[in-house]
Symmetry: C2
């Protein structure tokens, strides 16, 4: 079939493959869309023919034939929080495992823009969606005509991958309790309502404090739309704690390493090092926890595993839909990943 390789290449069509192999065009089409409906021998004959003919797949034609694009949409709320950029990082790295390509959207909480973006993606026949933003309800997401998996957000009606946040709260409070802190403080954001997975951190913290009858306090800060806003609200919290609990050993569990780092920096700037009467535990194990001036102990979300599970949960559902008689999920699947407590210098000082 040298002609296909001489000079300007002519596109090899299903017709060409049919003629070359002696099969019908329907059989060739079945090879691409339902390979399992052919015998292994026939699959091999066609597969060899494609090599001989130097067949270049036309993905767009294939999308028209079977409606599949190998695209997954990813919606993240922001990159201000290092947790999201790390999760995105890990999701993108699954290309090597699954071959899916990712269309990434940054939500910024604009409901209408997010809806419009999703509608656009649907018009392009993307196969699945990973949602980390909080903007649209899981009830709305569940109505989309494609599989959806959420990560660490309200997930009542859709499949999801979350950290075992309750266990994370338990781990953090227990560690601070073991350090004999006089007061245990948990700092979380005002928007952490009971339907969000992160609310488990509060429950776990409170349960341990109540069980062990520990002096404790829960502080809510505004989420903030910029680093400066986060810094401002945590600055107030820092000055208040530093004054009110002067002379007491303070164990502070901060929901999120980005915020834990801000609090740590206030301390270092005031005292030059982390005072003996402070213990800090963050949450996430995002890069900033290692890059901080003093490496921050943290409840480590297994971000790499969560990203992998989210993509693989989606791939299972997308694969199901490729079958001739797909059986869709009857109930959403919720995978829960155990967090791993990582002790670094903000709880285990060397001096």
């Amino acid at each position: 079939m040298g002609s296909a390789n001489n000079g300007k290449k002519k596109k090899v069509t299903f017709d060409d493959i049919a003629k070359y192999t002696g099969f019908s065009k329907t059989t060739i089409s079945r090879y691409f869309n339902f390979p399992d409906s052919l015998t292994l021998d026939n699959q091999e004959i066609i597969s060899n023919a494609l090599i001989d003919l130097d067949y270049k797949e036309n993905k767009v034609a294939r999308i028209l034939a079977n409606g599949k694009t190998e695209f997954i949409g990813v919606i993240i709320p922001n990159m201000l929080n290092h947790y999201y950029s790390e999760m995105l990082n890990r999701i993108l790295q699954t290309y090597g495992d699954f071959g899916y390509k990712f269309l990434v959207f940054l939500g910024n909480e604009q409901e209408e823009t997010e809806r419009k973006y999703i509608q656009e993606l649907l018009a392009y026949n993307i196969e699945g969606l990973i949602v980390m933003s909080f903007t649209l309800s899981s009830e709305e997401l569940a109505k989309l005509p494609i599989p959806v998996v959420t990560i660490e957000r309200e997930d009542r009606y859709v499949s999801s991958v979350n950290t075992d946040n309750y266990m994370g709260g338990v781990q953090a409070a227990s560690l601070l309790a073991r350090h004999n802190c006089d007061i245990l403080v948990h700092i979380n954001t005002a928007d952490t309502t009971p339907e969000r997975p992160a609310y488990g951190r509060i429950r776990g913290f409170l349960d341990i404090c109540e069980e062990k009858k520990l002096n404790h306090r829960l502080i809510y800060v505004e989420r903030g739309d910029s680093f400066e806003e986060m810094q401002e609200s945590l600055g107030e919290v820092f000055r208040e704690l530093d004054t009110s609990y002067s002379g007491m050993k303070k164990g502070i569990f901060v929901s999120g390493d980005t915020r834990a780092n801000i609090l740590l920096n206030f301390l270092i700037r005031k005292y030059g090092s982390l005072p003996e009467d402070y213990r800090i535990v963050g949450f996430d194990d995002s890069p900033i926890s290692r890059e901080a001036v003093i490496p921050i102990s943290t409840v480590g979300q297994q971000i790499d595993r969560m990203a992998y599970e989210a993509v693989s949960l989606l791939v299972e559902q997308m694969d199901e839909r490729r079958k001739r008689k797909p059986v869709p999920l009857q109930e959403p699947v919720h995978r829960v990943i155990t967090p791993i407590l990582i002790r670094r210098e903000t709880t285990e000082q060397k001096n």
Copy 2:
């Protein structure tokens, strides 16, 4: 046209629109592909008909008709360096301005995977490519059948957006010179070869030092594949500088805020605050420069503007290709963005 809205919706075809408006199907097709070839009145008639008929665009059919997907591929080398996640952040945010959707790939310097990914994207008819990774030469990228724009990498044969790195080096060295430092040090990575835009930082630094006859030194570190590797190589540099130039006022210009932060942390951990005989200037103005324990002075790349320029440069070329007689660029276009020196506490201490 109530029937289109009752019960299960039937897809509205070009035929339906033609019948409804009285135009030919060719005219309807021209409306979608070359709207300017119709009078404004006729454009309006068809546009209103689409609303009446509740027409849902089938993007895949449209791709087949005009070969355009409104997809742009983005290749970033890693997210270890905060500069890349910030640039990606800003690129994604241009969706609101241009409507293009981004397929994001994380290179990790695997040449073959990167080539395979690009080939896949081409098979899907993406319209343009933004490349930040260093893996493939601009000569190879220029041969791709779609417009390519690079950011801050070797760009001889392709269009690009870069910071004026030379000016950045001049700004940093001049600032340190004004602080009467006894020794000016520039730390860069061993892979910053003359064909990379970042090499301009070295030239700018050296030119100022030579012109002003300043005691200076250039130190290369390995790039490193992880935060720990970066930390290790900078730890050696820190100990060496701290010993060799003891008692001298040291002005250190570090190529990249991620590394400047590591160096700063070594200082704070040793001295509890930034000693009077140290001045540090980073490069990028990436988030870590603000989130550091002491906010880092930096040669600010205008990352938001660079991202916008890269996408708009690409959009211009993609728009050109939509014309019936496109005139491709004869020469690559190189847009250079002026950096802005941002003075923070590592050069202007309050005490």
